[in-house]
């Protein structure tokens, strides 16, 4: 949150050059007051003006009443990471107004609802009181809706002060209200009234404004959970089981929203899918494993506490070798932690989830496009590898709106893995479920119902030989684990490669992953300005690719940048390249908020100086 007290430096307000398309806005409201409509209208209007933009909702675990902030980053350079403080702060919530005022960047703007009793003792700020209550009363007849439309007052006020197009605000509201004229009109009435009021009553005292650009054409705005659901749908998901949990719920919601549109058989009008809300996460993964075992493309979505509950089933899936996809939309832990705040804290727990010797394939999407791509790819990998595949997204990626290229249709045909038909069994005269026929560690399986006397086998989590018979023989156990080891190496070769950018003459390298990417990209640009060259490797999967070792070997100092308290990926990288572990340093931070370029830059410079 923007709680940090800043050094107040008096800046002469008149002498400043205009600052165009390069600032952040933070809006402080109460949870449940309907400010999301106002905030996304601003975000989308800026996007439609062609200006690179990002929006992050910093919200509490609460239905109504607790403070919530929404930050909008406007950047002509295309940097979309969160900024630690905003230049423009809008205070609509009396409970946080004092702190909000302290948080404004030096020389910034403080806009506030004029019924808030505030001291205006920071002389570096431009103050804009706005009559939110008065205007909403005047322009909205329905008393029940006044709280909601009050937020449109700051939309109109900001639009006038920053030159945001009212036409684009209207088109954003049209999208939000799905083309329904009535709510759009009633909101626009307040937006226009506010803009007019500001024009007539306030003098602009700040340097910030926007100008239309052409940097967003061809892009769309979407959240990662919707992208993940669409990816799964185009990946042919036929069964999903889930249990409500923040911040994963919207992934299941998106499945439920899009499956009926996209996956009803045109001939029979019957669905080619089933989605079950399970009684808990244990049952959710149990259902997914049952469905995957029987031949469905099966997935679940959850967050850290759900992953913990799924542990025993994950071990069963790993050892009985059953395809499953588990999306983990990571949030702050340990324990209940902060359900509405972000972290990359489940890396180690997901990778090793299960009792005994278990290690799981994990995908690490770093963009909205990758949420879509890994949505379908995870289902292919699960069936190819006959194992649970985790996809580690997080709250920032999953729930916030991001600019993204429209999604590419899957580039590869669906991979259903090694499945024997009745005809194949006829030719083979039988099969052994866990026999490593091709040397890749993956056995052939049959699906229940395959009409052949040799088709059936018995699946169990207990010790078994290659014919799937119960066995306590030491050699059977060792052979089976050795084969699972070979399968893991096969997985390593099949997974998405890291994205590498080696810079000539760079002594420093950054390894990072997931939603940290935009902050890393911006931090590298900042470091470059200080003549600090950095190479960058973005991980996209576990187990780690062999090429990670070469990358480390090419750089004397490697910083693993991540959003958790235990430097989890750093530990895995060191384990992966023990002979190079001395070069690999943690650069981690976890306060519940998305990483910022400022923090990464300062942390690396500090580590470099040490």
């Amino acid at each position: 949150m923007t709680m940090l007290e800043v050094q107040e430096r008096p800046v002469p307000l008149d002498d400043r050059q205009p600052i165009v398309n390069d600032f952040s806005i933070s809006v402080a409201t109460k949870n449940g007051s309907g400010s999301q409509t106002a905030n996304t209208a601003l975000l989308r209007a800026l996007f439609k003006m062609g200006i690179p933009v990002s929006g992050k909702n910093l919200f509490p675990s609460n239905i109504q009443g607790l403070p919530t902030w929404y930050t909008i980053r406007v950047s002509h350079e295309g940097f979309i990471a969160r900024r630690p403080r905003a230049e423009i702060v809008v205070a609509m919530n009396p409970a946080t107004a004092m702190e909000d005022r302290k948080s404004v960047e030096p020389g910034g703007v403080f806009m506030y609802a004029d019924d808030l009793k505030l001291q205006t003792d920071r002389s570096d700020l431009a103050y804009y009181p706005i009559p939110a209550k008065k205007l909403s009363q005047e322009h909205e007849a329905d008393a029940k809706l006044r709280t909601y439309v009050a937020n449109m007052v700051y939309v109109g006020a900001l639009a006038h002060l920053l030159s945001i197009s009212l036409t684009e605000i209207e088109s954003a509201l049209m999208f939000h209200f799905k083309g329904k004229r009535k709510p759009v009109d009633s909101n626009m009435k307040v937006v226009r009234a506010a803009a007019e009021w500001v024009a007539a009553n306030l003098e602009k005292k700040d340097p910030y404004r926007v100008e239309a650009m052409n940097a967003t054409s061809g892009l769309i705005m979407l959240d990662g959970n919707t992208a993940a659901a669409l990816g799964a749908i185009y990946g042919g998901v036929s069964f999903a089981a889930w249990y409500p949990i923040t911040p994963a719920t919207s992934l299941a919601d998106a499945l439920n929203a899009y499956l009926p549109q996209l996956r009803v058989d045109p001939a029979t009008k019957e669905p080619t899918y089933s989605v079950i809300q399970a009684e808990d996460e244990i049952a959710a993964l149990g259902m997914v494993l049952g469905a995957g075992w029987a031949g469905a493309r099966a997935m679940t979505s959850t967050s850290g506490p759900g992953v913990s509950l799924m542990s025993e089933f994950a071990g069963l899936g790993y050892y009985a070798e059953i395809p499953a996809v588990i999306w983990d939309i990571q949030r702050m832990g340990p324990s209940t932690g902060l359900p509405t705040r972000v972290a990359q804290g489940d890396v180690i727990s997901a990778y090793f989830l299960g009792h005994g010797d278990t290690k799981n394939v994990c995908l690490l999407p770093g963009s909205i496009n990758e949420c879509f791509e890994f949505g379908w790819r995870a289902l292919d990998l699960a069936e190819r590898l006959q194992t649970p595949v985790f996809v580690l997204s997080d709250l920032d990626l999953g729930m916030n709106q991001w600019m993204t290229k429209p999604f590419d249709y899957p580039t590869e045909p669906m991979d259903r893995g090694k499945v024997l038909s009745a005809e194949a069994l006829d030719k083979l005269g039988g099969f052994k479920r866990y026999k490593d026929v091709e040397g890749d560690g993956i056995g052939w399986r049959t699906l229940p119902g395959t009409d052949h006397p040799f088709a059936a086998y018995f699946t169990r989590g207990s010790g078994h030989n290659e014919a799937a018979g119960y066995s306590e023989r030491p050699d059977d156990w060792e052979n089976n684990m050795a084969r699972l080891g070979r399968k893991f190496e096969t997985a390593r070769g099949l997974l998405p490669r890291p994205v590498e950018e080696r810079v000539d003459g760079a002594d420093i390298a950054i390894i990072s992953y997931g939603s940290a990417d935009p902050a890393v990209a911006e931090a590298r640009a900042r470091l470059a300005k200080e003549d600090v060259k950095t190479s960058y490797l973005r991980l996209r999967a576990l187990p780690l690719a062999e090429s990670v070792k070469d990358f480390i070997a090419a750089h004397p100092r490697v910083y693993v940048v991540e959003l958790n308290s235990d430097a989890q990926m750093c530990q895995l990288v060191r384990l992966h390249a023990p002979e190079l572990a001395g070069r690999v340093q943690p650069c981690h931070h976890s306060d519940g908020l998305p990483l910022t370029a400022r923090w990464i830059t300062e942390a690396i410079l500090k580590l470099e100086a040490a």
Partner: protein
């Protein structure tokens, strides 16, 4: 088993679909000699053989425990899934949504169902998955050597665990209140009752619970235990005689009017219940079934037979609108929407 065709000239020593009984057998049991569970396995083999169940069209599910080992000991030509302790219902749910055309048996025990798996048990019943749920109930944990389970009687004493001070959970009662549409209690030592109940259960379109008292000869078979062979034999009080009549088969049993009640199952088969004493329990009456169980508990009676049946409640497959083709059999053509749908979707985003 509505899909089974009767061969024109029935061969000797084979069933309706031309398979010998040997094709229904499983591996040799590793349970204790005399275990009630082995007797139930034998009765499952008999029921499936006589019904002409296609072995490949049946899935066997189980959790963890002695009972859950037993699916290995019948029907080796059927797929089996020995899952986690108390979690069989969820695995069966996923598998049978993926392929709702298959028949399924779930074998569980009183530990697996009554304690660790109690939540999943209740939710399975609530969803009404088409599954024959066989509760092999012996009041004791066998594999971990003799702890009380949640179905043990209050005041009961056994060697390892001492005295049980807690009320037992009646799984038939729990099933009825959770909406289960086929609830029966029986005794492993009574194949003449278990086999027809199993056949009736296979014809049910939702979850059918058979709570079968199945004595543990090693840890809980003292004559005063209500889960022992001796007690079962001495106290078994049938509430009805149960005859299963396959679809298209004539009812040949001749009973005096007022002596019987017939219930038509969803697949067209019928179950005919004959009264065994003056009062006739109406198994379609849910409240009567609950009252019967409550009275039996008060009087410490071991009642067996069909307690409750409601053949009309839709199953989970109907709820999910699953059609002719199982979800598991759909291929890329049905599962991946066409490229133009994605372009259209992208064009509609902001």
């Amino acid at each position: 088993m509505a899909t089974v065709a009767t061969p024109a000239t029935p061969a000797k020593n084979v069933n309706r679909i031309g398979l010998p009984r040997a094709d229904y057998k499983g591996l040799e049991s590793t349970l204790c000699n005399g275990c009630g569970h082995d007797s139930i396995s034998a009765q499952i083999i008999t029921a499936c053989y006589e019904l002409g169940v296609r072995p490949e069209g049946l899935i066997k599910f189980s959790g963890i425990g002695c009972s859950s080992k037993s699916p290995a000991y019948f029907m080796s030509r059927s797929f089996g899934f020995n899952s986690l302790h108390g979690r069989m219902p969820s695995v069966a749910t996923g598998a049978l949504i993926a392929n709702h055309t298959l028949h399924a048996i779930g074998v569980s025990g009183d530990g697996d169902t009554g304690s660790i798996g109690f939540g999943q048990f209740k939710h399975l019943l609530r969803r009404n998955l088409r599954l024959v749920y066989i509760m092999e109930n012996n009041g004791v944990y066998g594999l971990t050597k003799g702890q009380f389970s949640a179905t043990a009687d209050i005041g009961q004493e056994i060697k390892y665990a001492g005295r049980n001070d807690f009320l037992p959970i009646d799984l038939c009662l729990e099933a009825i209140v959770s909406g289960c549409g086929f609830v029966a209690r029986s005794f492993a030592g009574d194949p003449r009752q278990v086999v027809p109940l199993l056949k009736g259960a296979f014809s049910h379109r939702g979850t059918a619970l058979l709570d079968i008292i199945s004595p543990c000869v090693t840890f809980n078979n003292k004559d005063d235990s209500t889960k022992s062979y001796a007690w079962g034999k001495a106290h078994d009080e049938r509430i009805n005689d149960f005859t299963y009549v396959m679809p298209q088969e004539e009812i040949t049993v001749d009973y005096a009017p007022g002596e019987t009640k017939a219930v038509t199952m969803h697949d067209g088969s019928r179950i005919v219940l004959k009264k065994v004493d003056e009062t006739m329990h109406d198994p379609t009456d849910r409240l009567a079934a609950l009252r019967l169980l409550e009275e039996a508990r008060e009087k410490q009676l071991f009642i067996t037979g069909l307690l409750y049946v409601n053949p009309n409640q839709p199953g989970l497959a109907e709820h999910e609108r699953l059609g002719q083709v199982p979800l598991a059999r759909f291929q890329q053509d049905q599962l991946r929407p066409a490229p133009e749908t994605l372009s259209k979707l992208m064009a509609g985003m902001f």
